[in-house]
Amino acid sequence: MLTLPRVLHFPAGDRRFSLPIEAVGEIAEIRAVDPVPGAPAAVAGLAEFRGRIVTLLSLAGPTAPAASAPPAPLSPFDAPVIAVLLAGPLAHLGVVVRGRAGEIEISRQVPDEPNAAVPRDLPVGPGPRPFARAIRLEDGRSALLINPEDLAEYATGQIRERVRVAERG
């Protein structure tokens, strides 16, 4: 019997994102997030968690539809945020959850539908494909499945672009 893969899905902005369960290291409640001046919108800030520095990425800004209002930037004075920390070599990265802990769920992913429509407004990473793709969960809801490596490359590309711009000008 085919076992459907399990994913961790959570809200980020107006969309629901998911990560393969194997790619998730931990769900943590970050008490304080330090914003990085001049950082791109995809970088929410830096946080200290169990002795290590974690770069928190915000998926609400880059992936929000153009017509929607951009999310408010995080500040050290905000309430603790929930972040999904990646596992393995990407443990220094985490994704900010824009919602309650109760909205973070583990479900199974149903097989991809052929000719599934891909949101056109997803940012394109350095590669030819975006860092997330649409999937359907077993409860019928849809979500965007993140590729952690593509997400890392996307964030790194954003930082480099910002540095280049800063150096230029």
Partner: protein, 414 residues
Amino acid sequence: MQLKLGLSFLMVALLVLAVNTAVTRIVPEENLLSSFAGLVFADVLVACVAAWVLSRFLTRQIRQLVSATAVISQGDLTRKVELSSRDEIGELAKSFNAMLASLLNIVFEVRSTSEQIFDSAQALSATAGNVNSSTRELATASRTIAKGAEDQVATLSRASDLTREIALAAEEIALKAQSAHRSVRAAGERARASADDASRAKASIGEIVEKIQQATSSVEGFRARALLINTTVDFITQVAHQTHLLALNADIEAARAGEEGRGFGVIAEEVRKLAEESRAFAEQIQQHSQMINSESASVIQAMKETTVTAIEGKCVVESAASALEEISATVLATLERVREITELTVTQARGADGLVKTIEETTKIAQGNASGTVETSAAIHEQTAAMTEMSASATTLARTSDHLKDLVTIFKMD
């Protein structure tokens, strides 16, 4: 005279008898019848002679009387009959003289009386004229008085009607004053009762305010408990939140552990569900607590507002109680005034009734006076007519006395 005439007639009769006797004696009986005529002739002759003698005697005195009477008839009352015979003609003469003297006195008296009568008649006529003019003036005045009496009657009638209306109005006022007295007394009693009610209301409101304040304190304590519940619920929610995260992480580790972590994943799933339920219940509790807190705040606010309103109401009730006390005192004072007014109006009504009766009696008297005045006027008219007649009679009497005096002047008395 009577004796003399008697004797004369006796002598004549004796003479005739004697003649008859003589004839009888003389003449034989068989010639008596044929001598009767002669006898009769002799008797008649004797009688005639006797009559002639007597008549000559009597006539002479009577002629004296007649002449005296003729003179007297001419008015000379000084003429006396000078006859001193002792017979009846002398007595007649004496009586005639006495009568003449009496007649003279009478005429004298009549003349003097007629003069007096004339003078009196003149005076009476003048007086009648004066009385007549005075009577006319009196009649005029009487008519004026009668008119005035009629006007007085009319005025008194109007006054009587007005006074009757005033009396009725006074009586009505008295009745209304009595009704007002009863109403004011009832109002005073109600004011007193209201003042007592206001005092009781003030006391009740004070108790209500105190109880509301106590209830407010209780609710505030209750709200404080609700806040503590919120704090506890927040902690529970936080625990549930952390538990949920732990369950998620446990699930993640179980998934990473693979097959060996399946049981742990189940446990983690159960823990996550428990955490979710706890969070849900905590959320419900928090919602209820927030509702309780909100409603408690609303209740406290309402109680505070109610307290303020009750205090304001207490002030209003106190003010109303004071006002009712003043009203009660004023009503009692007014009651006393109304009682006095009622008594005065009753007295006024009685006085008006008496006045009506008095005016009615006065009207009757005036009507009597008017009638009497009319009668007086009529009497004066009659008197005027009588005085006119009297004046005419006086005039007639004067004329009559004057005529009588003229007649009396015919007589010569000295």
